[in-house]
Amino acid sequence: MSEWQPRILAILCNWCSYAGADLAGVSRMQYPPSIRVVRIPCSGRVDPLFIMKSLQSGFDGVLVSGCHPGDCHYISGNYVARRKFAVLKPLLEFIGLEPNRVQFSWISAGEGDRFAKVVTKITEDIRELGPATRLVKKT
C-alpha cells in the first residue's frame, strides 16, 4: 500500500515564498505532493482564523510562509505576522493540539531548495502524527 499522504494547506506570500515554490518547480526539485497552495499578498494578511478554519475543515496541517525579516515588500508585514504567530503557536499547543501541525517559515523567492526542504520536513512531521482529528468538524 502506498504511504499516507497528508493534506497540508500552504499559505504563501506572493513576493517571496510563492515565487520560491515556483522556483522549486521549474528547477524540478522533488518534494512530496502534500500541499495545497493559497497565495496571499503578505504574511501579515494571515488572520489566525484562516489557520483555525483550515484545521476545522480537515487539513492535516498548515504552513504559513513569508519573507525573511527585513525583506517584507510592505516593510513591516512579516514583523506583525511574527507577533501573531508567536502567540498563536504556544496557545494551540497549550490547548492540546499537536504543535507540528501548524508551522511558520521564511522563504525568499530565490530559495527553491529551502522550499522543497521545508515542505518535505513538515510532511514528514505530520505523517508521524497521522491524520488530524482533534479540531476537525464532523458534519
Partner: protein, 321 residues
C-alpha cells in the same frame, strides 16, 4: 475611611468645578449581589454612588460600546485597578482622548462573583449582603451565612497583581500597591505539565459547554469591533452551533483578539452562565505576551498595544528551517 463617601465627595467636586459633564460610577443594584452603572450629571445624583464588593462592572465599556455618547465630552470615571488599565487601552486605541477623561481611582479589595455566592447558599436567593471587610454576611429566607471574603471573590481578584489604578487624576484613599501574586500563573504551569492529550480533553470538556451566548464578548472592555467575526455571515467564518470545534475556534480567536489587551478584569468569566474557566486562556496569552514582548496590557499610557507593535530582533525560534 469610607470609600463611598469619599467617592461621592469627589464626584460632587468635579461636577461643581465643571471639570466633567458626566461621571460614570456604580449605584446599589436592584438585586443584592449586583451594582448598577450610574451616570451622574448633577451633584444630587452623586449621592447615589457607591463602591463596595458588588461593583464588578468595568465601566470603561461605555467608552467603546456607546462611543457616540462620549465623543468630545468631558467624562469622569471611577475605576478599580483593572478598569484603569481598560481606560488606558481605550486611550491608546484612540477611542477617547486623555484630556477628555478624569480618572478617579478607588481602592479595591476585590469584587464578588455572584456564582460563587450562590454556590454557597445552594442556589437559595440572597436578600441582603453586608460587607464587613474580611468577611461578608449574606442573608435570605431562613439562612444567615458568614462567608470568608476569599470564598466569594472573583477568580480574577484572587490573582490580581495591580489592584490600584496606575493612571489616574484623583486617587481616593490608600493604594494597596503591587501585589506579587504567584497564584496567578500556577494554574497555567500545572496545566502545562499535563500531556497534550490530557490538555486537549480538558480544554474540550471545558469549552464544549459553551452555549455561544456571547455574554463574555459583550461584557469585555476590549471587545468592541463593529461587527464581530462570529456575527459575520459573508464570509461565514465559523458555524453558529455549539459543536465544540466551532466554540473552541471562537474562544481561541477571541483570546488572540484580546492578546496584549486583556486586563484580566474577569468580567467575562463572571458573566458566563456556564461557568467556563475563561481566565486561564486569557492569562496564558498574557503570559506569552509578557515573556516575548515585555508588555502588560494597559499599564503604560505611553506604550503601544503589544500586537500592533514589533521589534526587529525578536526571538523567532518557532520559525521552521
Amino acid at each position: 475611611m469610607n470609600t463611598t463617601n469619599e467617592l461621592r465627595k469627589s464626584i460632587k467636586a468635579l461636577i461643581a468645578e465643571k471639570k466633567v459633564d458626566l461621571f460614570l460610577a456604580w449605584e446599589k443594584g436592584s438585586l443584592p449581589l449586583t451594582a448598577t452603572p450610574l451616570f451622574v450629571s448633577t451633584e444630587d445624583q452623586a449621592d447615589r454612588a457607591v463602591f463596595d464588593v458588588t461593583c464588578g462592572n468595568n465601566l470603561s465599556i461605555y467608552f467603546t460600546k456607546d462611543r457616540k455618547q462620549f465623543a468630545n465630552r468631558k467624562v469622569g470615571i471611577a475605576v478599580k485597578g483593572c478598569d484603569a488599565r481598560s481606560v488606558v487601552l481605550n486611550i491608546l486605541e484612540k477611542q477617547i482622548q486623555r484630556e477628555n477623561v478624569v480618572i478617579v481611582g478607588v481602592p479595591c479589595d476585590g469584587v464578588l462573583d455572584r456564582k460563587k455566592v450562590l454556590a454557597k447558599t445552594d442556589g437559595r436567593e440572597v436578600l441582603e449582603l453586608i460587607d464587613n471587610g474580611e468577611t461578608v454576611t449574606v442573608k435570605g429566607n431562613g439562612f444567615d451565612l458568614l462567608l470568608n471574603r476569599n470564598e466569594i471573590l472573583s477568580s480574577s481578584c484572587l490573582a490580581c497583581t495591580y489592584p490600584d489604578a496606575q493612571e489616574y487624576d484623583v486617587f481616593i484613599g490608600d493604594a494597596r500597591g503591587e501585589v506579587p501574586n504567584e497564584s496567578r500563573l500556577k494554574e497555567i504551569h500545572d496545566f502545562q505539565a499535563l500531556s497534550a492529550s490530557e490538555r486537549w480533553d480538558k480544554t474540550r470538556n471545558e469549552y464544549e459547554r459553551c452555549i455561544r451566548c456571547y455574554a463574555c464578548r459583550n461584557v469585555c472592555p476590549s471587545c468592541y469591533c463593529n461587527v464581530c467575526f462570529v456575527d459575520q455571515n459573508d464570509p461565514k467564518w465559523i458555524g453558529s452551533t455549539c459543536d465544540y470545534t466551532d466554540t473552541l475556534i471562537f474562544h481561541v480567536i477571541r483570546n488572540l483578539h484580546v492578546a496584549g489587551r486583556c486586563v484580566e478584569c474577569g468580567a467575562c468569566q463572571r458573566a458566563c452562565p456556564m461557568d467556563i474557566d475563561l481566565l486561564m486562556l486569557n492569562r496564558k496569552v498574557a503570559m506569552e505576551v509578557k515573556d516575548r514582548f515585555g508588555d502588560i496590557a494597559g499599564l503604560d499610557i505611553n506604550g503601544k498595544p503589544a500586537m500592533s507593535d514589533f521589534r526587529e530582533d525578536e526571538k523567532q525560534k518557532f520559525i521552521m528551517g
